[in-house]
């Protein structure tokens, strides 16, 4: 009785072939972008992306879609400025509306630490020729009208910083746009296919053993986020990754707040209003390592009073859904990228709480890494083995993100 209507196809999950030039493990944003870049930019089309669950259903579906480039470290900042440029042209590249929107970001400053860090970012961004400036408490109403500006309480507002290089995109559409574009270039997308082990010849990995059978592969690229430690353990490799839940929650549709994206370090708040009107908010990282993806009342109860202190009108908004992603954190909050020297496997992990924003640029660089057999300079700072045998790590640490 069905009469399916005509609709432009997105992607179709297929059965795996026995052999590919490249197998990408993980059909999230990074994995799909890598496959797409291999096929569309490097001429390598015999590529499969395998996904143990549903495409784009991990942290791609669970993150708060913040895209920004106001990083403390110069190399982080340059990478994310490149990413922003890639976001700007992504819809044309994919022929798909990912709804990227550059809307800017307001970051509140509550104390000396916030002010110093905000100025450090602002001066760095200005030096790079991009827009950023301080907003005095008196002028904050123009940028974030609902924020209660007060000198008292636990969260006094001593000002804020405006960064133009920030925006958001529709996370699902990013994954789907990449999947559709990659498949048009000949990439196989295989959902419901979990890696059980690696096929080796000598020290080299020459394929993956999956729940859908053995798949031979010239190169294996891991884009598996919190699934990475289990995969690496099968190679006998251990990286300093800690897996923790990161929660977000959303309200009902609200009339426009007149605030683009709002961040507060002290309130550990990230807030952004989507096109349709719902408000997406991020919670602080779960303090304990865990693998579940369950929202926890405890963290909501801890954070929501801070949110309603800063934006009192939100007391009348409603919590509709809360959820968690499972993020892979490194000691310094920066990713781990490299080619595992023994096995030849390309590893991309450790993006922690902030991998979404880098999606379009990571895909291109990882594709280059596959083709050249070496990690491009833009990712060199994320060396896989930078923590090996070190008792101390350089510079900024977790606060960088």
């Amino acid at each position: 009785m069905s009469r399916p209507i005509a609709h432009r196809p997105l992607w179709q999950s297929v059965s795996p072939s026995s052999s590919y030039d490249v197998v990408v493990v993980g059909a999230g944003g990074h994995g799909l972008a890598t496959a797409h870049a291999l096929a569309s930019r490097c001429g390598i089309t015999n590529v499969a992306v395998i996904e143990r669950d549903w495409l784009g259903g991990g942290n791609t579906a669970r993150n708060a879609t913040i895209i920004r480039a106001n990083y403390l470290r110069v190399d982080d900042r340059l990478l994310h400025l490149d990413a922003l440029a890639a976001w700007e042209t992504l819809d044309d590249e994919l022929e798909y509306a990912t709804r990227f929107k550059r809307c800017g970001l307001v970051s509140l400053a509550h104390d000396d630490t916030d002010l110093a860090e905000g100025w450090r970012l602002t001066n760095g961004v200005q030096h790079a020729g991009r827009g950023a400036h301080f907003i005095s408490p008196e002028n904050l109403g123009e940028f974030a009208p609902l924020v209660r500006v007060t000198e008292d309480g636990a969260l006094p507002v001593r000002g804020a910083f405006w960064f133009e290089d920030a925006g958001s995109a529709k996370h699902d559409h990013v994954a789907w746009g990449y999947a559709a574009a990659a498949q048009r270039c000949g990439v196989d997308i295989i959902e419901g296919c979990e890696v059980r082990g690696f096929i080796r010849r000598g020290d080299r990995v020459v394929g993956v053993d999956t729940t859908l059978g053995r798949i031979a592969s010239g190169t294996v690229v891991l884009c598996a986020a919190s699934g990475t430690p289990a995969l690496l353990s099968r190679l006998g490799v251990s990286l300093p990754l800690e897996i923790r839940p990161l929660q977000a929650y959303v309200t009902e549709l609200l009339a426009p707040l007149g605030t683009p994206m709002l961040m507060s370090r002290a309130a550990q708040l990230f807030l952004s209003q989507a096109d349709k009107g719902e408000l997406v908010m991020g919670l602080p990282l779960d303090p304990r390592p865990a693998r579940h993806r369950r929202a926890s009342l405890e963290l909501l109860e801890e954070q929501i009073p801070r949110v309603t202190d800063l934006v009192p009108a939100l007391r009348r908004a409603h919590l509709l859904r809360a959820w968690a992603g499972s993020v892979d954190l490194t000691p310094d909050g920066r990713p781990l990228i490299g080619i595992e020297p023994l096995s030849g496997v390309v590893v991309n992990c450790g993006w922690g709480t902030g991998g979404f924003k880098a999606t379009p640029i990571v895909g291109r660089h990882l594709a280059t890494a596959v083709v050249d057999g070496t990690v491009p300079a833009a990712l060199a700072g994320y060396d896989l083995h930078r923590f090996d045998g070190q008792s101390a790590i350089p510079s900024t640490g977790m606060v960088a993100h």
Partner: protein
């Protein structure tokens, strides 16, 4: 739709007036807004979000997708469910309109309360009430929650242990349940710790998907019965009932008895039902409902009988029931990723799946998602219900799509040729119903989840005309202006935020040695390192009132106490040692110069902070702090505010916690440099950029002591790893350039 002259559980002696879309109306005490509207023959309670279609009340509870309202005047709120909100005299009610206006009035206020019980029963249906009363009789402490109206018999049976109008919204795996008492303006968020939780939340009725199923006047059968029995409302005078189960027969008999003309559409030959209906003189038709017609409300139903003949039945109400599904949202929240299995009792969905622009087979009425929309997703290649949810926005509305989930699985089953139980519903995310953020905050504020510490000297600082502000959760005092950091001969300052923990127990000595061993020498300070070799705490072991103590600040942890207890748990789990945080009882003062303080006022004198000219750290009892402070000031000591003290350290080239020594900084602070301005005047701020001779950024300023008309400013700066700096540097702040000389490199800062 009309109110019957008798019956119902409403109080007809209390007539209430309210306004709907500015039209005056009446209801009775005991009505919900939805029942009062039905009694007033209001069929259209709003228009749909995207397609602007008229919509009416479908249900009588929290699952309602259409009758969402906003209320002004008495009992004002930005968003409310007409089906669960009690009518109050003087309310001004209007459709919600699809978006909450945060500027609209809202009379709700919230408290958070805790309760403990042996057994928590959620749901006062048959199972819940029997379980709760039996357990109470057996002497157990019991709490029974129900999200519906009050049942007086339970009040008697479970005095004080029965909460009605209270909806469980979170059920945590550790037994914590959060429930919202949503009645009236004063809402309570109950946090309930239960030894055992019995979830007896019953079932929810499944709507049918067919063309025109969103017309006002298409309602769930059980809700039609509830409006009849509880509110004495006949929701239609001419009723077509299409039900997959016995509910339809019972409802038909009751509606006919109340005076309605009823036709029952029976799926298949059901002899017992036919006989029962015949005896009540009710028309029965074997077949299926295929469409509803009407403009602003239902005017007819189209039924195809078992011989294939089409009948058009004039009616003003269609009561539907596609079967019942377990209301298991609450327990499914605590299980990650589990998909719901769907039972077998399904009425086939006669959906022609037409073009999205014309399809009126609504799966999710709130989000305006039709069967054709789902069909579009399938045509695009999507198979997972998670993808189709995101493709169509199915189930993401303010009603949380509870009525939409199972019909969606049925439609997808038909489209994909897969049994619905293999399709399932998308993973359910808490809360079980929308919760105002205000309810989760309650009276709590950022100050309760992030306490602000206040020392005893605040009044002293006010007398000095200082500004008080919060830094790193402590109130500090600052003189204001741009301090130059030129230290007077003798001064005193309050080291706000320094924590003191003393160790008790037979193994205290062993533990203090352990802690002393963990504190490695960093740049001028002793620091405890984290797992990546970065600074977690800045602290030293000391002696307070004859006991071993640790004094310092935590950078990475919430407190020094937490860091010590974690280290004990990790390295000496069997040690008999208690760590007692006595920071609240003590004040740490830093004093420089020759004036002395009577020793009986001082608890302990810490080691010198390294300043060769005699700076002493004093631990003073909180109650004596004002006396010590006043004594020193009377003796000629100049009080230094927070910013002045930072400036003194900066001018002296001394690193400070939270500025140079930060979370993630290595203990020996490589790359720390001391800058001196080439010119006099006020300097840049912390966070300014340090550029090398090629104008490339190589680091940033962390602390500044300002200059004045004769004095150059000086600052401390961190140079990024691997970068180098010559003898001069340029400091960039907000577009202004400052020339500086590099006065000392890291090794010279260290001593």
């Amino acid at each position: 739709m009309r109110r019957l002259p008798t019956g119902g559980h409403i109080d007809r002696t209390q007539l209430l007036t309210f306004r709907w879309n500015d039209r005056p109306m009446t209801g009775y005490r005991g009505d919900t807004i939805a029942s009062a509207l039905l009694a007033s023959d209001v069929a259209v309670t709003g228009h749909s979000l995207h397609r602007g279609r008229p919509r009416g009340t479908v249900s009588h509870g929290w699952d309602e997708p259409n009758s969402l309202v906003s209320i002004r005047g008495v009992g004002s709120r930005s968003l409310a469910w007409a089906t669960t909100t009690e009518l109050v005299d003087g309310m001004e009610v209007a459709p919600w309109g699809g978006r909450t206006d945060l500027a609209s009035p809202d009379a709700r206020h919230y408290v958070v309360r805790n309760r403990h019980t042996d057994l928590l029963v959620i749901g006062a249906g048959e199972v819940g009430r029997v379980a709760a009363t039996a357990a109470a009789r057996a002497g157990r402490s019991v709490l029974l929650l129900d999200d519906d109206v009050r049942d007086p018999s339970l009040d008697r049976a479970l005095a004080g242990a029965y909460l009605h109008h209270t909806r469980a919204v979170f059920a945590e795996p550790d037994g914590l349940v959060a429930a919202l008492d949503y009645r009236g303006d004063a809402h309570t968020l109950w946090r309930i710790r239960a030894g055992e939780v019995l979830t007896a939340t019953g079932t929810m009725e499944r709507p049918l998907v067919f063309p025109g199923n969103d017309l006002p006047g298409v309602m769930l059968a059980r809700s039609v019965a509830t409006y009849l029995h509880r509110y004495a409302i006949l929701a239609g005078d001419s009723v077509v009932i299409a039900a997959a189960n016995h509910t339809g027969v019972e409802l038909a008999v009751d509606l006919a008895a109340a005076g309605a003309h009823v036709t029952v559409v029976l799926a298949g030959d059901r002899i017992a039902a036919t006989e029962r209906l015949a005896s009540a003189d009710i028309d029965a038709l074997s077949g299926r409902l295929v469409a509803a017609h009407g403009t602003d409300r239902v005017t007819s139903a189209v039924v195809v009988d078992s011989t294939g003949l089409e009948h058009t039945l004039e009616c003003d109400l269609i009561a539907v029931s596609g079967g019942f599904d377990a209301r298991d949202h609450l327990e499914k929240h605590s299980v990650s990723g589990l998909r719901v299995q769907i039972g077998k009792a399904i009425v086939p969905v006669p959906c022609p799946h037409r073009q999205p622009s014309t399809c009126t087979c609504f799966v999710d009425q709130h989000r305006d998602v039709t069967a054709a929309d789902l069909s579009g997703g399938v045509a695009a290649g999507l198979r997972s219900v998670e993808h189709l949810k995101r493709f169509t926005t199915l189930g993401t509305g303010a009603d949380q799509g509870r009525l939409a989930a199972v019909p969606a699985a049925q439609v997808l089953s038909d489209l994909l040729g897969v049994p619905p139980e293999l399709i399932g519903t998308s993973v359910r995310r808490p809360p079980a119903s929308p919760v105002p953020l205000g309810a989760l905050a309650g009276a709590r504020s950022s100050a309760t989840s992030r306490p602000v510490h206040r020392g005893p000297l605040l009044d002293e600082w006010r007398v000095l005309g200082w500004n008080l502000r919060v830094e790193n959760s402590w109130v500090v005092g600052a003189r204001g202006g741009s301090p130059t950091g030129v230290a007077p001969d003798t001064w005193v300052t309050d080291l706000t935020g320094v924590e003191t923990c003393i160790l008790h127990g037979p193994d205290a000595g062993k533990v203090i040695d352990l802690v002393a061993g963990l504190l490695v020498v960093g740049n001028r300070s002793r620091v405890g390192l984290g797992r990546a070799g970065t600074v977690d705490v800045v602290a030293e072991v000391s002696d307070v009132a004859g006991r071993p103590a640790v004094v310092g600040r935590a950078l990475q942890h919430n407190s020094l106490h937490e860091w010590i207890t974690e280290r004990i748990r990790e390295l000496a789990p069997t040690a008999r040692c208690a760590v007692v945080d006595i920071s609240d009882g003590l004040v740490t003062l830093l004093h420089h110069g020759s004036s002395t303080v009577p020793t009986h006022l001082i608890e302990s004198t810490g080691s010198s902070t390294g300043d060769p000219t005699g700076t002493r750290r004093m631990l003073v009892r909180r109650s004596l702090a004002v006396a010590v402070w006043q004594h020193l000031i009377a003796a000629g000591c100049k009080p230094l505010g927070h910013d002045e003290f930072q400036a003194v350290r900066a001018r002296a080239g001394l690193p400070s916690e939270g500025r140079e020594i930060t979370v993630g900084s290595p203990p020996n602070l490589p790359g720390l440099v001391h800058l001196t301005a080439c010119e006099t005047g006020i300097g840049p701020v912390a966070g300014s950029l340090v550029l090398n001779r090629e104008a490339a950024p190589v680091g940033h300023v962390t602390s500044v002591a300002h200059g004045d008309s004769v004095l150059p400013w000086v600052g401390l700066a961190r140079i990024d790893g691997g970068e180098s700096l010559g003898e001069t540097a340029v400091v960039l702040h907000d577009g202004r350039h400052f020339d500086a000389q590099v006065r000392a490199k890291e090794h010279e800062c260290t001593n």
